[in-house]
């Protein structure tokens, strides 16, 4: 052993340094930074020369337009609507095709099971439970994701995202939050868990927490299919022509609502439990790059689409089995599913939903993707309808279970404003290192969701609109 422990030496050296630091009037750290910059400048002068430039003015022209006072916002909204319009229109046909093919295969599977002499319950769990849920998840989710993710990756690759952050910075400032929060929100479109992780780019711990707690107000791709399906059935479908555009407008409106809620909650947190002033922000606007289309398609398909699809399939398969069992095990003369829904029903009705919808959201905690499939399965297990392959038939299922346009709006609202999925909660816990914040990230959206649906429902019913 050394006579002097390293800590003693280090502390002595530190003390000595303190004395040296205090002996100088100017701050050493400022001088050091200034010297580094000076050296870099000197070297650059020796090696860099520049011809008359055209390209920088090109970037600048685009930036002046994209971040201008008058065009900045309309352009962002136009892009938002455009992306969703392409997604909805493009996903329509492949979704129906997939549904037709996959459900036709279900009939084939049934025949095989009968031929093999499998007991009824095996057929029930595997075909009516697992396979049917999987078919739903794939048919409803895969096409929109396969279109949305490449479009989003294109935007990401081109360099447009930091411009969005730049445009929105002063709004976030007003909410006493960080402008980079809009980048984390963009990531949330893909997956809220990824969005929460990306909050690490925000330096101030206070602003990072705000961004983490509010990330869930951006609908992730698990919730998009739900939103898209329901608008297509109840809103766009009601107006035959331009239905794609109207659906896109509705979805965009929902997202803007999510942004508005994000800003309000950020502000509210800033003046209550996370008090503080916004810190200043240095944001680099990278030059625009022409995206490499091959790489974009490859990456968005493999990294994002298939990754997310695999995750939801892994959750949907067991969930399908559980739902079928719950729907086919009877206590008295009611199956378990109906009994639970029955208990939840009064509460569901109060906020314009019903017991089944509320139960689907609760069972969807592991992944939001399975909310709609669970709901359809529950309705079908209690009703007499067995076959469905188009949105029209889906509409009939929902309407025969008492859905109105108010139910549809409430479901969309609640989908936007409810607890985050289990993965996101876990990520929040990991990122914040505190159960308290994870619980708060559960509580805040849930409370807001219940309140919003309750008020809307009561007002609409009071006015007698339904």
């Amino acid at each position: 052993m050394c006579a002097m422990s390293p800590s003693r030496i280090l502390s002595e050296v530190y003390g000595q340094a303190e004395c040296v630091r205090n002996s100088n009037l100017k701050s050493f750290s400022d001088q050091i930074v200034a010297d580094i910059y000076g050296n870099a400048e000197q070297i650059t002068k020796h090696v860099l020369s520049k011809k008359e430039s055209q390209r920088i003015s090109f970037d600048l022209t685009i930036d002046n337009l994209v971040t201008s006072k008058w065009f900045g916002y309309p352009l962002m909204i136009l892009l938002l609507v455009g992306v969703f319009w392409l997604t909805i229109e493009g996903a329509n046909f492949p979704s129906e095709l997939l549904a037709t093919v996959l459900f036709a295969f279900q009939d084939q599977l049934t025949l095989w099971f009968q031929w093999a002499g499998a007991p009824n319950w095996v057929h029930g769990v595997l075909v009516l439970g697992v396979y049917r849920t999987l078919a739903w998840v794939v048919a409803v989710m895969l096409p929109p994701m396969a279109i949305f993710f490449p479009l989003f990756t294109l935007l990401e690759d081109s360099g447009y995202l930091p411009r969005i952050a730049f445009n929105l910075d002063h709004i976030f400032k007003r909410a006493k939050a960080c402008g980079k929060q809009s980048l984390t929100m963009c990531m949330g479109f893909g997956c809220n868990a990824a969005g929460v992780t990306s909050c690490r780019i925000i330096d101030s711990p206070r602003e990072r927490l705000i961004a983490i707690l509010t990330n869930n107000f951006v609908p992730c791709n698990g919730r998009f299919p739900t939103l898209i399906a329901i608008t297509s059935i109840f809103i766009g479908g009601a107006i035959a022509s331009y239905s794609g555009l109207i659906n896109a407008l509705v979805i965009s409106a929902i997202i803007l609502l999510g942004v508005a809620v994000t800003l309000s909650v950020s502000w509210l947190l800033s003046v209550t439990i996370l008090k503080g002033e916004p810190s200043s922000l240095v944001l680099e606007l990278p030059s625009y790059r022409r995206p490499k289309f091959g790489a974009v398609i490859y990456r968005s398909m493999l990294d994002r689409t298939l990754f997310v699809l695999r995750r939801s399939i892994m959750i949907a398969a067991p969930a399908g089995a559980v739902i079928w069992i719950l729907a086919n095990v009877y206590i008295g003369d009611q199956n378990i599913l109906s009994s639970v829904a029955h208990v939840l029903n009064p509460f569901g009705q109060l906020i314009g939903l019903d017991g089944f919808i509320l139960m689907a959201f609760i069972l969807g905690l592991p992944a939001n993707e399975i909310v709609l499939p669970i709901l359809i399965m529950s309705y079908l297990s209690t009703g007499s309808l067995q076959d469905y392959s188009s949105l029209e038939e889906l509409r009939n299922v929902l309407v025969s279970n008492g859905w109105t346009w108010l139910t549809a709006i409430n479901v969309m609202l609640f989908s936007l404003l409810h607890w985050p999925c289990a993965t996101t909660l876990l990520t929040t816990y990991k990122e914040t290192g505190s159960k308290k914040w994870a619980f708060l990230s559960f509580l805040i959206p849930t409370l807001i969701g219940f309140t919003a649906c309750f008020i809307l429902t009561q007002v609409v019913r009071f006015l007698g609109l339904v």
């Binding site: 390293p6 800590s7 030496i9 280090l10 502390s11 050296v13 530190y14 003390g15 000595q16 340094a17 303190e18 004395c19 040296v20 630091r21 100088n24 100017k26 050493f28 750290s29 001088q31 050091i32 930074v33 010297d35 580094i36 910059y37 050296n39 870099a40 400048e41 070297i43 650059t44 020796h46 090696v47 860099l48 020369s49 520049k50 011809k51 430039s53 055209q54 390209r55 920088i56 990756t153 990401e156 690759d157 081109s158 360099g159 995202l161 930091p162 980048l183 990306s198 690490r200 780019i201 330096d203 680099e284 990278p286 030059s287 790059r289 490499k292 490859y298 990456r299 493999l302 990294d303």
Partner: protein
């Protein structure tokens, strides 16, 4: 954490450092053949990605550090990058520079030079610099910096073979860079002279005493905390505030 990167015997470790959004992840992917997600916005890589590639029958473990503008540890990313370079002792550090904003990027390179001499500068985005009509004299930059400079356009795959070669040479010791050291103003240099003899006691042979002395002058507590962890010092006995008062009062 990353300090305990799973390094096998006979494997060289290569750290990738650089400003945010200069294409570190693209280079990482090109070298390793992996498909880590890249994106055109600063701050994308928040975690350290690791990958392996082979060159000349040698295995290279490559660590993609988070993008930082400096190593002065004002942010979590800077702290992660700095601690890795200081304490994990990579065999080679590749500093990726954006050729379109050389001056700002050089600040980081110069700071890395103070920590380690086994450095290669990768001048990336050369294609964009050309588009912007910037002309960089690479040989004279090499002379100015004292380290190998490889011009690349990673998205087009340009210059990557050369980069692999240089990494191999520096890792195996057949090429020994002598990176230019920052010349500080006389105030700073004098203060350094005063501190250096003391610091040499604790530098432990692996860390540059000059770098430690500079951080002491900065009053950079996060570095000293990392250093004390590294030197295995009990956290409880490491209270800066106490010493500040006790030492200077004497």
């Amino acid at each position: 954490m990353i300090l305990s990167a799973e390094k096998k015997n006979n494997q060289f470790t290569v750290a990738l450092a650089g400003n945010p959004n200069v294409g570190k992840s693209t280079i990482f992917n090109a070298l390793t053949g992996l498909h880590q997600h890249t994106g055109n916005w600063p701050g994308k890589t928040v975690d350290n990605a690791q990958g392996i590639y082979e060159h000349q029958k040698k295995s290279f473990l490559i660590v993609d550090l988070p993008g930082t503008y400096s190593l002065l540890a004002h942010t979590v990313e800077e702290q992660i990058a700095r601690d890795y370079l200081c304490f994990a002792n990579p065999d080679v550090t590749v500093v990726v520079l954006d050729a379109t904003c050389l001056e700002r990027n050089l600040n980081l390179a110069l700071q890395v030079f103070e920590i380690t001499s086994k450095v290669i500068v990768c001048l990336n985005l050369m294609d964009e610099a050309t588009k912007k009509d910037l002309v960089i004299d690479v040989p004279s930059l090499e002379r100015e910096l004292g380290v190998p400079v490889v011009a690349t356009a990673a998205r087009q795959g340009m210059g990557l073979l050369e980069l692999r070669k240089k990494i191999f040479q520096v890792a195996s010791g057949s090429l020994q860079p002598s990176p230019r050291q920052i010349k500080y103003s006389s105030d700073v240099e004098n203060a350094l002279k005063e501190l250096l003899p003391l610091v040499e006691n604790i530098a432990n042979n692996t860390l540059s005493p000059r770098w430690i002395a500079l951080r002491l002058l900065d009053g950079d507590q996060s570095f000293l905390r990392s250093l004390s962890n590294y030197l295995d010092i009990d956290q409880a006995s490491f209270q800066f505030q106490d010493w500040e008062e006790s030492k200077c009062a004497q």
